[in-house]
Every structure is written in structure tokens, then in C-alpha cells.
Amino acid sequence: MADADQALKRLLCLGCGFLYDEALGLPEHGLAPGTRWDDVPADWVCPDCGAPKHLFEMVVIGYAAGQPQIQPAA
């Protein structure tokens, strides 16, 4: 768990704006909360537009009030 102390990242799909938040994962797509971007399979694509992983950009942007509606597990 060498990277356990690293802040959890957020990545945005540059094809459509879909957000991958490491803290939340995508349980409905088989990615548990806490799944690091590096551990997301290399052939995984944006569920909304099909863009490959390399077309995601890491962002440092906070959530709007009331978001995310699904809170990360404690």
C-alpha cells in the first residue's frame, strides 16, 4: 500500500466530461470505491462516450454544493 497516503484523484473524460473519482470508483461498472486510476484496466473506456483511458485528464476541481450524491465509503 505504498500509495495509500497519496490523495485520491479525479479524472475527467476529454471526450464528454464524464468524471472518474478514485474515492467513489464505479461500482456499477465493477470498479470498487478506492480503485486507483492506475489499477483501472488499460482497455477500460469511458462508459458514456467510449474514449480510452489516455484521453482522461486529472483535474483538481471541487464538487458543487450537494455533490457527489453518493458519498465515498468511510
Binding site: 479525479r10 475527467l12 476529454l14 471526450g15 464528454c16 466530461g17 464524464f18 468524471l19 458514456d48 462516450c49 484521453l55 485528464e57 483535474v59 476541481i61 471541487g62 464538487y63 458543487a64 455533490q67 457527489p68
Partner: protein
């Protein structure tokens, strides 16, 4: 000390996207319809240019050809999508609840926020020309929204008019970001003042000519300039139509 880059019209990414074959469900229209997209920054298949400029990620110079041509309903999140119609008629449909028709001078801001779909269509057979700009928002998953406005090139000629930003009559966006337009019918000196030296300006010549110091731009040429709080420029002899996109860099 100002920094800059120049992007000539022919150096942009070029895509011709037919409404048949692999794109049949993505691109609307008759089988012979197609979209041309000139991208100033990396987008979709085009990935060998600049990644963006400041908070801007997409600057697309697009034409829809053929009756019914455009983009079918498709999803977005987060990006703030702005369209400026230059020619023809754009029908915009979104899941915020709008069906809108836009003509030359009309523009919109569609903030996809927590999720929104849209369709962009040129329903009649006339060519539809528009500039699409995408920017990152300052907060994730904002409530989705749509607003539209009109730029009157006659009433506002020979002055730099803010279309997107905090100015009176401009459409606000959730970002430190402004878009202004200048339509000039004579050679004229103008000074564009970014908010600070930490702001950059992407200058795109829709039509005519613009000279900014050493930088001479023709139709569809563009330049990014940052690190200065005053950009002096001069329009050409005939009609010049210029967009100034200002972003924190």
C-alpha cells in the same frame, strides 16, 4: 513579458465525419450528410496538437452539410459548452428542457454539470457554420443549465463586445473565462485588456485580418498570448471579425 503561440488555419486538426458507416448513429442526417471540424486543440481523433489553453479544452470550427445533419442526442458531464452560430440555422435540443433555434449572431452556453444530453442539428439543407468552445467548470457536477443570447454585429460594430463573462448582457459561466467579439469595418487600433498577467487570450480571426505587434493573422488563423495585461492590435482594411477568448492560465 508576453508569451505567445501562433496557430495557422491550415495547421489545425481536420476531420470530416460522415453520417454513414461507423458514425451513422453519432452523426445525424441523410447518408450523404457530413460534418467538417477544424480543431485548434486536441480533440477526439486529433491528438497531435496543443492540449488546450488555460481552462479551454476544445475550440472547434465546424460546418454541418446536408439536410438534418448534426450530432444526435449524446451525453455530457461537467464541460461548459458554448456555441456561436456564424451561418445557417442550428437547432439545439437538450435535456435541461430546451428546443432552441439559433441563427447568425446567436450563441448559447450549455453547462452539462451533473449530466445533460444535447443534439445539434441543421434541419434544412443549408450549410450551418458554428464555433464550439468547451471549458472546464470551476466546480464538478453543477446543476445543468442553458442560456442563449445574441450578438448584434451592426449595433456593436468597431468595439470589443463581451459575449460571455460578467459584463452587462453577457452570459455568465462558472469559470474565470470570457469571450468577446469584435466586428470591424475599417482599419482600427484596439487594446484588449486581460484581467491580469495571469490571464491568457486566445485570439481567433473568423474573418478578415488582425495584427497584434509582430503577429499578423489572416482568416481562421489564431494566436494565444499570455503574461501581459494589454494586447494592442489593429484590424485590417475590410471587414474583420475576431473572437477573444480569455482564460486564467
Amino acid at each position: 513579458m508576453a508569451n505567445s503561440f501562433i496557430l495557422r488555419a491550415g495547421e489545425r486538426g481536420h476531420n470530416l465525419i460522415p453520417s454513414s458507416g461507423l458514425n451513422a448513429s453519432y452523426v445525424a442526417g441523410h447518408p450523404e450528410g457530413f460534418i467538417t471540424r477544424e480543431s485548434s486543440f486536441n480533440f477526439h481523433e486529433y491528438q497531435t496538437g496543443r492540449a488546450g489553453f488555460g481552462r479551454m479544452r476544445v475550440f472547434g470550427d465546424e460546418v454541418f452539410f446536408g439536410a438534418g445533419c448534426g450530432y444526435n442526442m449524446h451525453p455530457h458531464h461537467n464541460f461548459v459548452i458554448c456555441a456561436f452560430v456564424l451561418q445557417g440555422e442550428l437547432t439545439h435540443v437538450n435535456t435541461v428542457g430546451n428546443i432552441d433555434q439559433l441563427h447568425a449572431g446567436d450563441y448559447y452556453v450549455f453547462s452539462a454539470g451533473s449530466g445533460g444530453k444535447h443534439a445539434e442539428l441543421s434541419i434544412n439543407g443549408d450549410e450551418m457554420h458554428a464555433i464550439y468552445i468547451w471549458l472546464l467548470p470551476d466546480q464538478l457536477l453543477l446543476p445543468p443549465s442553458y442560456k442563449r443570447a445574441h450578438f448584434d454585429a451592426i449595433a456593436r460594430r468597431n468595439k470589443i463586445q463581451e459575449l460571455i463573462g460578467a459584463a452587462d448582457g453577457a452570459l455568465p459561466v462558472p469559470q474565470d473565462f470570457r469571450v468577446s467579439r469584435l466586428v470591424s469595418d475599417m482599419p482600427q487600433k484596439h487594446v484588449y485588456h486581460p484581467r491580469s498577467t495571469a490571464h491568457g487570450v486566445y485570439i481567433f480571426v473568423l474573418d478578415g485580418e488582425l495584427t497584434c505587434g509582430e503577429i499578423a493573422l489572416g482568416r481562421r488563423d489564431s494566436a494565444g498570448i499570455w503574461g501581459t495585461d494589454a494586447i494592442a492590435c489593429e484590424t485590417g482594411a475590410h471587414t474583420s471579425d475576431i473572437l477573444f477568448v480569455e482564460t486564467i492560465v
